[in-house]
């Protein structure tokens, strides 16, 4: 459990240091995410889970270290240089980040209109197929503000996958959802992984979903990262890892009992 991923690494962090002002998020983070697998990034609040995704997308820049995404080094690139890397990525933001002035249809069609020469009938076909794939129907004319939390997540997923990215980044896809919606999103993500063979990086603190979904888990700790297959981590004798899993499991049990 030294951060080495099974098979070929598709995304790689090498001694990355990241700080926001005085607050250091990672001192020296080294980890790898395997190609075409579902990797889940776990960690406590403020451990930098979402920052990992933002670093991969080049939305924030590290102070030191290298980040390699699908063979391209992200660090040190200009904004226009990053656009070439981002064409390979799809990102599902925690709150959806749908453009609130556009309808669901226009949101999902947006990347196609920006980056392809497709005509409107072709765009409409592809948008409807993608919306159907994430289980959304009759939502074309709705604005994001008129959707439920689960529908926003699914619309955001549809927008993230419509360009068929080679790497899909999902920031807390299960947060704020009821157990039925969590399972629905889980199934959707698994199906997307099957169909697109995309490398998926999912930030979550939902242990049960992680165990069901993940091929590979990276647990962010204050002094680095521990990585392994889900069952390996669950059986780990490392007190930091066991502590995290036991704490989260008891929290989840408490939450279910409370519900």
């Amino acid at each position: 459990m030294d951060g080495g991923a099974p098979g070929e690494a598709h995304v790689e962090f090498d001694r990355v240091r990241m700080a926001f002002g005085e607050r250091v998020v990672f001192r020296s983070l080294t980890c790898r995410f395997p190609r075409a697998k579902i990797s889940v990034i776990l960690g406590g609040s403020g451990s930098g889970k979402s920052t990992v995704l933002r670093l991969i997308g080049g939305l924030v820049a590290p102070q030191a270290g290298r980040i390699v995404v699908d063979g391209d080094e992200v660090t040190g690139r200009s904004e226009s240089g990053l656009y070439a890397v981002r064409r390979k990525l799809g990102m599902m933001f925690q709150g959806g980040a749908l453009l609130d002035s556009l309808t669901v249809f226009d949101n999902v069609a947006f990347p196609l209109r920006e980056h392809t020469a497709m005509r409107e009938p072709e765009i409409a076909d592809q948008v409807h197929a993608t919306l159907a794939a994430v289980g959304l129907k009759d939502v074309d004319t709705l604005l994001p503000g008129q959707l439920s939390g689960g529908m926003v997540k699914r619309a955001a997923l549809a927008r993230a996958i419509i360009m068929r990215p080679v790497i899909l980044l999902c920031d807390e896809p299960f947060s704020g959802l009821d157990p039925i919606s969590v399972k629905l999103i889980e199934r959707l993500l698994a199906r997307v992984n099957d169909q697109l063979h995309a490398t998926m990086l999912i930030v979550s603190h939902h242990i049960a979903s992680t165990m069901r979904l993940a091929d590979w888990v990276v647990l962010l700790l204050p002094d680095g990262a521990v990585a392994g297959r889900p069952e390996e981590l669950r059986r780990s004798t490392d007190s930091r890892v066991a502590g995290f899993f036991n704490e989260e499991a008891s929290d989840a049990a408490g939450a279910e009992a409370g519900a």
């Binding site: 933002r54 997308g57 080049g58 939305l59 904004e79 990053l82 656009y83 070439a84 981002r86 064409r87 990525l89 799809g90 990102m91 933001f93 925690q94 709150g95 980040a97 749908l98 453009l99 609130d100 947006f110 990347p111 920006e114 980056h115």
Partner: protein, 257 residues
């Protein structure tokens, strides 16, 4: 000692902010000049910033013109010069009040709305989502709004002036009994197209650039929280209004407009 240190930091922050604002402005200019031009977005913004401001501009222009007519008449009548009311109302509106008050109104209505809208997009990660889709937010979100503000300001100012002239005429001629021929005659003879009308247009254009730049910059750099968006909106109104008045003085002093 603390006072000197605080003052020093304030000056450094101001200069740094001014530098960032200039870079931001140059970025907008570069994006605006490089195809593709987002005509649809630009027209949408023209509608939001211009058409939706028409009512407030007309009402305020009319009210200011009526006040000018009344105050001007009461002052001029003491010197037996009430026949010059058209010149007083016209020159005041065209040279000064039209562009300045329009810019202040546009800052309060359209400028603050622009900042709040862009700031909310920052807070809800919509601009990050655009970046992740390889779309430059300055191109898609900022430039159409800033360009629309620049184009709309002279038009709104012209409308404000026309409404003001009508208000002044209604009060001076209709209420106070000034001769309509004398009112229009003094207006025509005193207003010079090149010096006054084009000068007024120039002022409105400069104010449009200022408000467009400040409103979009404040929104774009807003702290991504509700409080951050609120304070960015307030900053747009305060900084925008103060900048308009300061620039008004310099334009008048340097170009005699």
């Amino acid at each position: 000692m603390t006072l000197v240190r605080d003052l020093g930091w304030a000056v450094i922050r101001f200069v740094a902010d001014l530098g960032r604002l200039t870079v931001f402005g140059l970025r907008i200019l570069r994006v605006a000049l490089v195809p593709p031009v987002r005509v649809g977005r630009f027209v949408d913004e023209l509608f939001k910033l211009g058409v939706l401001s028409l009512l407030v501009i007309c009402v305020c222009g009319l009210a200011v013109g009526m006040v000018l007519g009344l105050q001007g008449y009461n002052t001029l009548v003491r010197f037996g010069a009430e026949q010059s009311l058209g010149a007083v109302v016209g020159l005041s509106l065209i040279r000064e009040l039209g562009p300045v008050l329009t810019a202040l109104l546009a800052t309060g209505r359209a400028g603050s709305a622009t900042t709040a809208e862009i700031g909310t997009m920052v807070a809800t990660e919509q601009l990050d989502a655009l970046r992740m889709m390889s779309v430059d937010p300055v191109d898609l979100v900022v430039t159409p709004r800033a360009a629309a503000m620049v184009c709309v300001m002279p038009l709104l100012s012209a409308l404000f002036i026309v409404c003001g002239l009508f208000g002044g005429y209604a009060v001076g001629v209709g209420l106070m009994g000034v001769d309509p021929g004398a009112y229009m005659g003094s207006l025509r003879s005193s207003v010079d197209f090149h010096d006054d009308v084009l000068g007024s247009f120039l002022k409105a254009l400069v104010f449009g650039v200022l408000v467009g730049l400040i409103a979009t910059y404040r929104g774009y750099t807003a702290t991504p929280t509700s409080a951050g968006v609120g304070s960015a909106t307030t900053a747009t109104v305060v900084v925008g209004s103060v900048s308009i008045l300061i620039f008004d003085y310099f334009i008048t002093a340097l170009w005699g407009v």
